[in-house]
């Protein structure tokens, strides 16, 4: 059973699907929070991921040249701080004047912000792909030996283990924040009803800042995980992630962070599993159509159940 079906399915489709799902999930958290609390679809969210990843690797390169080799997950911490400062400044000077304007104006503004950030990154780091850690990542030998002994060999490189671990830590921390802390509960309250939050005396500006911070950390992590997985940096990586991340946010229900996590995992798995040879020997769907899967799921959800699986807001 495992040899005929499981080995290939788990190692070459299911695990890569989960990895991709983790990345989508972390990105979709920021999208769904921004949508729920600031009430606009942030097209620049992919660029937060991308710029966060560039900053992480720049910090690694600078410290590496000084003889201090950092793991990307460590370099991610100062990089998120920089991303947060950058995006709080963007909010203050770019989005805040739009706060009382029509949603469509803010959405268009975020589209402009997306182009500005991408162009800035291209000016600073150049438009070409940058490869990091060249070569093929080898499966973790301990895990391979352990699972091999019980006849279910799992080939998982360390980078994937780090991605899973990092995602779990962030999602648990997010759950704690939203359900146990004052600011997290206020975030849910503003997402629930901004008008009531206003007349309850909740400091909505503080909640908005918290939203940018949480979204920024998750997006930076998603960007770094994506680069760890693909082993290269490119300036369009954020934009390519945008569609599946929106699909994940819509699937889970707008304004529902846990829905976004679930939606991200489903979209990631659906994309990878769509290329599995379910019928006959050929892939069910040519891998070239992978991105179409997320798009199809998004369109179907918008038609059939626009409020998402977890009863988010529908427009």
């Amino acid at each position: 059973m495992w040899d005929a079906f499981g080995f290939e399915f788990v190692n070459f489709y299911f695990i890569p699907g989960l990895v991709l799902g983790c990345i989508y999930a972390l990105g979709a958290i920021g999208i769904t929070l921004t949508f729920g609390i600031l009430r606009f679809a942030n097209f620049a969210h992919g660029e937060i991921m991308m710029s966060g990843a560039y900053l992480t690797w720049t910090i690694m390169a600078i410290l590496g040249a000084a003889g201090l080799a950092l793991h990307p997950l460590v370099a991610l911490i100062p990089a998120s701080v920089l991303v947060i400062v950058l995006f709080l400044a963007t909010d203050r000077f770019f989005y805040k004047p739009f706060r009382k304007a029509d949603t469509i104006k803010v959405v268009m503004a975020s589209f402009g912000m997306m182009l500005i950030i991408r162009s800035a990154v291209q000016v600073i780091w150049g438009p070409n792909q940058i490869t990091f850690v060249p070569g093929i990542a080898k499966p973790n030998p301990t895990l391979q030996a352990l699972t091999g002994d019980i006849g279910m060999m799992i080939l998982m490189p360390n980078k994937h283990i780090w991605i899973f671990a990092g995602t779990i830590v962030l999602v648990v921390a997010l759950g704690y924040l939203l359900n146990r802390t004052r600011i997290g509960k206020a975030m849910r309250a503003v997402s629930d009803s901004p008008d009531l939050a206003h007349v309850t005396g909740i400091n909505v500006d503080m909640v908005i800042r918290a939203t940018w911070i949480v979204g920024g950390i998750c997006a930076t992590a998603a960007g770094v995980f994506l680069v760890m997985d693909t082993q290269m940096l490119e300036t369009t990586m954020g934009f390519r992630m945008l569609l599946p991340m929106f699909a994940a946010a819509i699937l889970g229900g707008i304004g529902k962070p846990y829905g976004a996590v679930f939606g991200g995992l489903v979209i990631g798995l659906a994309e990878e599993l769509s290329a599995y040879p379910w019928i006959g020997d050929a892939p069910l769907l040519s891998p070239g159509y992978k991105t179409g899967v997320a798009f199809a799921i998004m369109v179907i959800m918008l038609i059939v159940r626009p409020q998402g699986l977890f009863k988010g807001r529908s427009f």
């Binding site: 509960k185 309250a189 009531l196 206003h198 007349v199 309850t200």
Partner: protein
């Protein structure tokens, strides 16, 4: 003479260019329940929102314990001790009952535990539902959550916008008796109501609003007994 807790003095106010309140004056003294009644569109809710700084005040002033708070933003008004319960959407439906109350205490984060206990004393029904999402409660219970949430700050005055709208008679009675219990704790209340007769029944004084200005004022019992007002709003004489 005692200073009123809240006073609105010759208020002209509205949204954008539209003026809704033309010349409104009213006040609430310590330990009073004051009702604002009047036909639809008379500006009852607008009068309340003008206190919260939610609309443009052209002329006149709003004072809390003698201090001018005209045009102060909502968050500052609430920090000063004015608590407001909107007519609709007055609870966070996705938050639990207890989380709603905690949010009510946003401007007074200290001693939340003690005040939660006080609220569960005042609203015993809510005590057993503290973990439930407020959106899963009945209309009457939601109104209780909304009032408890508003009382989580040391309110100097409580503003209630149509607390019994859409409720069954059983809950209406319960809300009005709760309002009296709140008064006994020393919090004066300004209440906007459609159910004029019941509202005047629990009120010390009342104002009748027509076309954005006060037309009549008097004691609760006096207004309820006034034949003209009875004909206009209390459902008699048509």
């Amino acid at each position: 003479m005692t200073t009123p807790v809240l006073s609105l003095n010759n208020l002209k106010a509205g949204y954008g260019q539209t003026e809704i309140l033309h010349d409104l004056s009213m006040h609430v003294m310590p330990n009073e329940i004051v009702a604002i009644i009047g036909p639809n569109g008379a500006g009852k809710s607008t009068a309340m929102k003008s206190v919260l700084g939610l609309l443009n005040i052209r002329e006149g002033s709003v004072e809390l314990n003698g201090e001018a708070i005209t045009d102060t933003p909502a968050q500052k008004v609430i920090e000063k001790g004015i608590s407001y319960v909107p007519q609709t959407n007055n609870v966070f439906v996705n938050l639990s009952v207890q989380e709603n109350l905690e949010m009510g205490a946003w401007t007074r984060p200290h001693g939340v535990e003690d005040r939660l206990a006080e609220m569960y004393d005042l609203f015993p029904d809510l005590s057993e539902k503290r973990g439930q999402a407020a959106g899963s409660l009945s209309g009457g219970q939601r109104q209780m959550v909304a009032m408890a949430k508003a009382l989580m700050v040391d309110a100097k005055i409580l503003l209630l916008d149509e607390p019994t709208a859409g409720l069954s008679p059983k809950y209406r009675g319960e809300i009005f008796s709760t309002i009296q219990k709140i008064k006994e704790t020393g919090v004066p209340i300004l209440i906007v109501e459609q159910n004029a007769k019941q509202a005047l029944g629990v009120s010390d004084r009342g104002y009748v609003l027509v076309d954005g200005a006060n037309r009549h004022e008097g004691t609760g019992a006096g207004l309820a007994a006034d034949p003209e007002i009875a004909r206009m709003f209390l459902g008699g004489g048509h």
